[in-house]
Symmetry: C2
Subunit: 227 residues, 2 copies
């Protein structure tokens, strides 16, 4: 195995962003529960996911994708566009953190059942204010990519297209009513996600057992939070 | 002016992480409220801060610092160490987001006064669980830097040392009692922050009017959240 992805098993979680890049590239990789002793001891990650590649260990999703991008052919060679790609990924990471907090506003240490009331308030703000703000931005940058019509950056698919696809899938899973109502406003984003879904390797992956159900991960479906 | 930092004025906020790098390097820069028309229109940032440098516009603190690092001499030249530096910065960004949510658990759209009860719960979890977890990690990586004793990565100061210093300052401002109690457990982190504070350009900056008071930014002092 060339690459090893260290992450919790049982839900897609943050590891999925790395998994999709490895799958799209047809990379040789192993996907396993975190083995903290596998990495270089002088670069210990704060939390999974982290990736080991020979003597290199990288943590933080955006940093892993930035590391893998050139190796997997999933980022523009142009330096300015590569920075832009990374910036988009970091903004997706912000959205992912807010998606988590929509059901855990009081913090990750307490059960959802013990913060349901607070989650109702936070989820409403997330649905009505934050999701549209992020979606507006994705729609804008998809529409203004000067180099091409199909992807977020440049002419070719890059890792952020995969990440945007998965984020949209997650939001649709967690907030189906909300996303159904918003869909007409975001034709570019939905069309891009559709193109990702049809990539041969991604389509095969989504049909495989390697694609895990959302379950109790970051994107959770609680009907009362989508009311 | 070579660089322009676009950010809200009146509190240090996320812009401070960029400001400290520019100050330490003695860079020629302008610090102003966001001018959304100043950047390249095909890379519009989701939110401030963003930096303009001629034809390049970069948003997201960690991406800005990654861009500036080599230009300002604030990151190791070794690629593996540069990735590690960025990974640390991304983890600091996660801590900063959690510090904000400690007083705004229900989201940024509502006033603190309307979520005081919830903030009490979230802040307690932040103080008792999250701050120690992050501090443990900073202490560990400071202690295990093989190349030197003074800084987080390699032999020389890099932008993450500045960021860790400011984050510690922010935590001490927001949670003075908590941090006073934790201080004995983190000698490496406090010593490193002390070294940053004594850098001639940083010391001069901290004494200047360019250093803004914390006020109602990310790091806020509410005595009831530090109880």
């Amino acid at each position: 195995m060339i690459y090893t992805l260290h992450y919790w098993q049982g839900f897609p979680g943050r590891g999925e962003y790395v998994r999709l890049a490895l799958e799209e590239a047809g990379a040789d990789y192993k996907d396993q529960s975190p083995d903290w002793d596998a990495g270089h001891s002088d670069t210990p990650s704060f939390a999974p996911p982290f990736l080991t590649d020979g003597k290199v260990t990288v943590g933080q999703v955006a940093a892993i994708l930035q590391y893998l991008g050139p190796k997997l052919g999933l980022v523009a060679e142009d330096e300015r566009l590569a920075i832009w790609t990374h910036q988009i990924q970091l903004t997706i990471a912000d959205l992912v953190a807010e998606a988590h907090d929509s059901h855990h506003p009081l913090g990750p240490g307490a059960y959802y059942e013990d913060q349901k009331q607070e989650a109702t308030v936070r989820a409403k703000a997330f649905r009505t204010t934050r999701i549209p703000k992020f979606m507006d931005w994705f729609e804008e940058i998809a529409a203004t990519n000067r180099a091409g019509d199909d992807w977020l950056v440049g002419r070719d698919l890059s890792y952020v297209d995969l990440s945007l696809f998965h984020t949209l899938e997650g939001l649709i899973h967690a907030f189906p009513k909300t996303m159904q109502a918003l869909k007409p406003d975001y034709p570019e984003v939905y069309a891009l996600a559709g193109r990702v879904r049809e990539r041969p390797r991604i389509a095969a992956y989504l049909e495989s057992e390697r694609r895990q159900p959302f379950g109790n991960g970051i994107f959770r479906h609680y009907p009362e939070l989508d009311a």
